[in-house]
């Protein structure tokens, strides 16, 4: 069993995992925030792309479950000497990990690794494709605030095309019964929206008063997002979650961002640090969700 994608999860399955994550949140609040559940297990962290929060979060999750971690990053490793993915994976596999957490710029890389190794693999982000634990932790943050996602109107704003976060979020939010509207320039929407059941809005102002949840995505210059619109100023004008726009939101509406934030671009500093922001809740939930995922993959018989 691996966690590679959310596109085949039902709402019930997601809710079950979120219930488990809620129990792990309680563990993180204890005087001794550590349980022996995965004592003796080893989790290999293989981040072929830069990552701060996801890597830290998985590391914290594994250690809070008493698992050991093997860490790996491409700079300063033999990957920088040209070693292939398969050779790197086989080397790490020979050290006997019980699970692998993988981030890679190539879509599908975690599937290949799962096929090669036979150990449970957690996809921590593959290219612009999937980032399942992010979809789960975002769902948890929204569920904590509203009790359920069913019937909520969630707007996902920005670079949908290059965003694995958006793909996993859309899968999770729609499975949980939310109405999802994608708000982006045409150039930053994927060529096809099949098989999602989502609406599209050409700018934020058109739907802002109706949204229960505003999900702002990072403009990913490293994946070429900057070429999708004329200028940053133009983007902010139509899609930026500014403090002026925040005043038009419903009183209970919340704002999420997966980080790292481009303050002043997709989200203004006052909104990011304001009372509507769930950004730090998302980070905290991330550890609990990853504990739930690792426990579900490694807590049972082999």
């Amino acid at each position: 069993m691996s966690l590679l994608t959310l596109d085949n999860w039902t709402g019930d399955q997601i809710n079950e995992l979120l219930d488990s994550a809620q129990n792990f949140l309680e563990v993180l609040d204890r005087p001794i925030p550590k349980v022996p559940a995965l004592r003796g297990k080893t989790v290999a962290m293989m981040f072929f792309e830069p990552s701060t929060r996801t890597k830290l979060s998985f590391d914290r999750a594994a250690k809070a479950l008493s698992a050991d971690t093997l860490s790996f990053s491409p700079s300063g490793s033999s990957v920088s000497k040209g070693e292939s993915l398969k050779d790197t994976v086989q080397t790490v596999l020979a050290m006997g990990p019980d699970a692998m957490v993988i981030r890679h710029k190539a879509t599908g890389a975690p599937w290949r690794v799962a096929d090669w190794t036979g150990v449970p693999v957690v996809n921590a982000g593959d290219g612009a494709h999937q980032h399942p634990t992010q979809g789960l932790l975002d769902s948890l943050a929204i569920r904590q605030r509203f009790g359920t996602l069913a019937g909520l109107h969630i707007g996902i704003i920005g670079d949908i095309r290059h965003s694995r976060v958006a793909r996993s979020d859309i899968d999770a939010f729609t499975a949980l019964g939310a109405k999802v509207t994608l708000i982006a320039p045409r150039t930053l929407l994927p060529p096809s929206l099949d098989p999602w059941t989502v609406s599209i809005a050409p700018n934020l102002d058109e739907v802002i008063e109706d949204l229960d949840v505003v999900y702002t995505l990072r403009i990913q210059r490293e994946r070429g997002a900057g070429s999708g619109f004329p200028s940053i100023a133009e983007y902010v004008k139509r899609f930026g979650m500014t403090s002026a726009r925040a005043k038009r939101l419903k009183p209970e509406t919340v704002v999420l961002h997966p980080g790292p934030m481009n303050r002043g671009v997709e989200i203004s500093a006052s909104v990011a640090d304001g009372p509507r922001s769930l950004v730090t809740t998302q980070v905290r939930n991330g550890v609990a969700v990853r504990m739930a995922v690792l426990f579900s993959l490694l807590g049972g018989e082999k």
């Binding site: 204890r30 349980v35 807590g299 049972g300």
Partner: protein, 179 residues
């Protein structure tokens, strides 16, 4: 319940046992000050709540009752399917308190071993005692109960089933020969 099972306690028996245990706890602690009941998931939880009710009526104060899930502390993780986890919550904490763990059946002692580990991660109680509705023997660890509703001699292969109204919609304890 089906044939082949023998009922060994009815609702009134459970009630009487818990009342007696409440008196024993008060006698041992010379009152109910600083006592925290902690029910072990799942059937220890309603038992702790009921016991707390009886204790409250004997002392002046309501007795705090918490919930402990020991799923993450089991020693057979990896030998069975991933356990479903329950909630852990002990209102007011356990630091400096006299904790009485409450469970339905004491058998191998492994659940209690896990519960003691779990408790030590929640804080440092002044003392920990154990109250069980049924002690059926066959311990695999050096663990004993301080308060026992009923000592029930069993064969290792027999099954003991506890039903509580809050979970099962009826009250009773049954023993069933395993085939």
């Amino acid at each position: 319940m089906t044939a082949g099972e023998k009922q060994v306690m009815i609702g009134a028996d459970i009630d009487r046992s818990l009342r007696r245990i409440a008196h024993e706890i008060v006698e041992h602690h010379q009152g109910t000050a600083d006592i925290v009941l902690v029910g072990i998931h799942t059937r220890g939880v309603p038992l702790a709540t009921r016991l707390g009710g009886f204790l409250g009526s004997l002392g002046d104060l309501p007795i705090a009752s918490g919930v402990l899930d020991i799923g993450m502390y089991r020693d057979d993780l990896g030998l069975r399917p991933t356990p479903e986890l329950g909630t852990t919550a002990v209102p007011g904490g356990i630091d400096g308190k006299h904790v009485v763990l409450v469970d339905d059946v004491l058998f191998t002692g492994r659940t209690i071993r896990a519960a003691l580990d779990a408790l030590s991660d929640l804080g440092r109680p002044s003392s920990v005692q154990l109250a069980v509705l049924v002690d059926r023997g066959h311990r695999q660890l050096p663990i004993r109960a301080d308060y026992v509703g009923k000592n029930l001699p069993t064969a290792a292969a027999e099954r003991v089933t506890v039903h509580l109204e809050e979970i099962d919609s009826d009250d009773g304890v049954w023993i069933e020969a395993s085939i």
